[in-house]
Each structure stands twice: as C-alpha cells, then as structure tokens.
Amino acid sequence: MKRTLAILLALGLSVSSLTGCGSDEKETKKEKDGKTVINFWCHENKPWIEAYEETIKRFEKEHPEYDVKLSNYPFDVYNQKIQTALTSGKGEVDIIAVWGGTAPNFIETDALAEVPEDIVKELESDYLDPTLGVFQKEGKYYGVPMEFNLEYGGMIVNKKLFEEAGLSYPQTWEELRETSKKVAKKNGEVMEMTGFDMIDADALICNYLSMILQQGGQYLEEDHSINFATPEGVKAMEEIVSMVKDGETSLESLTSGEYAFNRTYQDKGFMASVGSWGIGEGTGSYDLTYGEDFEYIPVPLYGDEVAFASETGWGIMVPENSQHKDAAWEFIEFFSQPENLVKHNIACNQLPPRKSLLDNEEYREAMPNITFLLDIMEKGQWMGPYNTSAMREIFNEMFISLCQEENPDIEKALKEVSEKITAECQLGYETK
C-alpha cells in the first residue's frame, strides 16, 4: 500500500511540475460571448494605460463584435515578454505597443506582420520622418507610430526654487550655464542641489546630438556611419563634460538609472531636460501642480539654428503569429485616426506623430505648455538607422569615463566611440 502510494505520489508530483508548460488557449485566442477577443499588450504606465482603455471603449462601442483585452507588464520585463510571445506558436497576443529603441530587435526577425497598404498610405503621407525610422524594413512597414519622440527641447523647472532664489528662467544658453553654476551645490560626490541637469540615460545623447546640429554640424555620414569627432562634436562634448566638472550636475542619475527630472521634482534641482512626457510624472507620481510647483519651458538653443535629432518613439505592432491579424489592424486603424490619436497623445502628454495634428486645435488647447515643441518638430532629423538603446549604452559609458579622467582626450574618445557605435549598433536591415 505504502509503495503504491509512493509511486502515485512520485507520478503526481512529476505531472504537476509539468502543468505550467501547458497552454491556456481558451483565454487567449478564442471567442468570448460570440465576440472576437483581441489581446493588446502594453507596459506599466498609469496615464498611458488609462488612455488605451479610453480608446478601447470607443472602439468597442463602434465595433461591438470585438472585445479588446489590455494587459500591462513592468517595463523591465516587458521586452522579454514580447520576445517570448513572438517565439511561441500560440499567438497569445494580437497587438503590442513597443518602444522604438527596442523595436529593431523584433523587426529584424520575421515575427511581425506587415502593415496593410491602406495604413501605409497614411504613414507615408501624414507622419513625420523620425516617427517612421526604425519601423521601415526593406520598403515595408512593421509598426505604426503613436507618438513623436522628442527628448530634447523642453525642461522641467522648479518654480518654487526659482522664486525663492529670486531668479528668472534663463533665455539663452549663457544664462542657463550662469544660473546653473550659481545655484548648484555639492558635498563631496553628492549633489545637494543641481543646476541644469541633462545627464541621464535618455537626455544626454539627445541633447548632445542637438548641440552638434545647432552649430551647423552633422554626426551622420553619407554612408550612415557615425562621426562625433568633428569640431562641432568635440565642442559640444567639452561643454557637457564641463557641466559635470564645474559641479553643476553629477553622474548620479546616469549611474543609478534614474531620470534627472526626479531631482527637480524632489526640490533637489532647478532645471532638468526631459521630453514632454515628464510633465505627467510631476503631476501624477509626485502629485505636484503645474504652474505652481513646476513649469515646462524651452531649453535655450546652444547654437544659432533650431535643429535636433529624434529617435523613433512608441509604436504599435502586430505579431505574425496573431490569431486575429485583421481585427488587430482594424483596431490600429481606429487608434491612428487623427481624432482618436489626438486624444491618446493628450492623455499621455505625448507629441503627435502626424503632421496634420501639429495645428490641431484640440491638442493646442489641451496642451498649451508644450506648443513650443509643436513649432519646432518639423525641423527634427531622424537619429539614424541605429539601435538607439545599444547606442546609448556605449555612448554613456564613454561619457562616464571622460568625466572621471583629469585631462580627457575628448576627440580621441569620440572617434573611438563613433567607430564602436557604427560597428555594433547599426540596424540589421535597410530602413528605406
């Protein structure tokens, strides 16, 4: 009896340990109450999730035959989740929202469905160039942009700190540096108060590239290779390194993986460069009041002309193994319609990717604080055919080394990093 029990127990435990390997097809791909279930994945971000839910509500009202299920995952594990879903044969997801910096990893596989022709026509006629960048592969499109990503151009300013110090917001680059030096305070390696901060993983490279372009320089060669070691590139890097060496800011945000604007919201910094999405963090995560506690204003130009580089931002894709591709594209078409997209962009503090929305009254009325960005968006160039996540890692490592050396050879470092990025980060596919 005992022996039989032991054998049964061993078998039972073995079987139970395999139960996790089964599929849950009923939940994921079949129909519910006669409706087609569309599974939509996004990353964890409260205002964005609420905005998706609003669009889904409107879509379901117009298309009662569909039931869109939204699932969100922490950003840290989100890309792995997508990778696993694309690999599996189960087709557990029909729509995925993907960050342009990581999208190339998925686009260079054959795991995504091609964007249908009617949406392609819209993309080619009405979307700004940088928003399409990485989504194009050998003449085809594999993603539909939902925003214009601009990490350069605006900065969060701590209004209270400025008022207490009796200072006005800087209007020129010289005033910016002067104010920054005046207010910054350091104790050992700890910044007690930062002046102007753009040293974080997102803002650093975007500001640097813009500083090159604003001097009339260029970092992208005709063969698409990168060259930062130009006179404009060296000058811009010397300027940024001096911000750290002069004690206006530190490497703290860059090394800890935090955004620089957090310090501004925590009353530990006067100014921090960030995309307009950073406003939502202030009002949402920090519960601050726009106009009272902080404001979002233009970063003064470093050079003479308005110029900047923008990478492809968030977009929506359909996996090739989706069980409901047609339904998924129907949802994306609805989502991308200007009247729906503008609501989503407003709710998420995003910049619109469509040219026709740059003068949209609803957007300008709802977002008066960032209209100055709408006016410069058409002057932006695409950052280039590069995996910008990988590019950032290499670039930021170089920057940290430069800041630690007593007399850094900036030109040599820029030359080396240009070669490394060109060799290691170029997209594995032709973008046009």
Partner: protein, 292 residues
C-alpha cells in the same frame, strides 16, 4: 527484484524531469551556441565556432570571468570562515532556546527574495544621497561617495550583501555538522588538556570534513551563478565593468542584445568553469566519510 522495480518506478519520473529541465537544456544551449540564434527568426545561420572565437576576443567577457572568479573565491572563503565561526559560537550557547533564536535570526535573510533585499540595500544602504553608508561616513567626518561609481568598493559591497543574505543557510549546515562530531573525541582532548580553541581547530574542524566538502562545493557552485544582486546593484556591470559577472553578461547578451547564440556560448563557458572548480574541490577534499 521487487525492490528494484519499486525504486525504478519512483526514480523514473524524477530522472525524466531532471533530463527534461536540466540535461536537455544544457545540450540545447550547447547547440544554440553554434548559431546566430534568435528564436523569433525563421532562419538562424550556422556560425560554427565563431561565437567562441568572439568570446575569447571580447574584453568584457574576460573581465566578467575575472570578476566571477574573484567574487566566487572571496565570497565563498569569507562565507565558510564566518559561518563556521558563528556555528561554533551558537553551539556553545547554554540553552537550546537561544541556539534556535540565533539560527532563526541568521536564517531570515535566506528566506527573503534576493531581488527585494538587494533593492533595499541599493536604495537604503549604498544610495549616494542619504544612504546608510554615506551617513556613517559623515559621522566619521568623511565626504559622501557615489558608490556605484567605485570599482573595487562596489564589488566589496556586493560581496558583503551576498554574505548577509546567504549566511544563515551554511550556519545551519555547520551547526548540524558540529553536532554530528562524536563528543568522545572532544572530551578526550579536553582531558588531555586541550583548550576550547585548540579543540575546535584540531578536533572538530578536521572531523567535519564531509560537511566542509558539501558546503564548499554547493556554495561555490551557487556563488558562481549569483545573479539577482548584480542585476539590481550594478545592472550594467559598474564603472569599467568592474562588477560585471558572467551571469549578468549572459542576461545582457540574451535580453538586451538578443544575441542568444553568443549568450549560450558564454553560458557554456560558465558551465565549464563551475564544473572544473567543483572537480578540483572534490579532488582536494577526497575524504574518508566516516569517523573511524
């Protein structure tokens, strides 16, 4: 015969699972390491030994190997010394109640998830602005430091965290080992005039060979594969990759660079290192598994 049947019936499922989840992935990983592999692609080109050639020329891989070895050797050595010392201290406590209390206190960090405790260390202890370490330095009049920007110190902090998080497990094992040493040897030495330190070092420790062997091999194998604390405290490997270890580098290649083939080649290298270290330890600690 009947016994053999029973034993096989009970063991077959376990071996099947072991094969499915340990042996098969090992060989599958070995296979992948010869390809430019991304599971989402339709075709994955065969590269032969290219991934291995790339690995031997990769300066980050070399640093990761050195850091893994340094971390493994120092952390295991300190772990064994400290846990043995603590186990001995606990064993001389007069009451069983106190022994249990101390073992429980030391064991608590072992049952807490490493990711959570590593996050607490990161934001509460080593944080530049307001972290405990910098506050302590302030008490002694020293300027605060950005610990994530240090090289040797960051690895030392990770070693300290690992010891804190994992020490309780080996304390329990050594306590059991100490209690398993027959009392007669200890008493005989005491009668011959040996003091407590002498008895501990010359009687108890040598007689705990089998516990030593088990603890050393298991801890070494475990520490070479430590990942969570490195991922949390030094996700990008620290300044100049001074805290990059092989597990974190495998993760980076797999899930940041999506280069599963290269990641598998590095995983094979880690397997070879752990296997070699375990073999060496086994040879060095060849024992007579009895007290006769």
């Amino acid at each position: 015969m009947k016994d053999k049947k029973f034993v096989s019936m009970v063991l077959v499922p376990s071996f099947a699972l072991l094969f499915l989840f340990v042996v098969f992935p090992l060989f599958y990983g070995l296979g992948i390491s010869f390809f430019d592999y991304n599971p989402a692609r339709d075709s994955n080109p065969f590269l032969g030994l290219d991934n291995y050639m790339k690995m031997f020329q990769d300066p980050i891989f070399k640093k990761a190997v050195v850091n893994t070895l340094v971390f493994g050797i120092i952390a295991v050595f300190l772990n064994i010394v400290i846990t043995l010392f603590l186990a001995q201290l606990i064993s001389v406590l007069p009451s069983k109640k106190w022994k249990t209390i101390f073992r429980t206190i030391l064991f608590i960090p072992c049952i807490a998830p490493m990711v959570g405790t590593a996050l607490v260390w990161k934001s509460g202890i080593i944080e530049t602005d307001g972290g405990l370490l910098n506050r302590l330095m302030g008490v002694f009049g020293m300027a605060p430091k950005n610990w994530t920007m240090t090289t040797g110190a960051l690895l030392a902090i990770i070693i300290a965290y690992t010891l804190w998080a994992d020490i309780g497990y080996n304390v329990v094992l050594f306590s059991a080992g100490l209690e398993g040493v027959p009392k007669e040897f200890d008493e005989a030495a005491a009668i011959d005039g040996a003091g407590p330190i002498c008895r501990f070092l010359k009687i108890r420790v040598p007689l705990m060979g089998r516990t030593f062997a088990f603890v050393a091999v298991m801890t070494m194998a475990n520490y070479f594969q430590m990942f969570a604390q490195f991922r949390v405290i030094a996700p990008k490997g620290g300044v100049d990759y001074s805290a990059m270890v092989l597990t974190n580098y495998i993760y980076r290649q797999s899930f940041t660079n999506y280069d599963m083939g290269y990641a598998s080649a590095i995983a094979m290298a880690l397997f070879v290192i752990v296997f070699a270290v375990a073999l060496i330890q086994n040879r060095m600690m060849r024992l007579d598994w009895s007290y006769e």
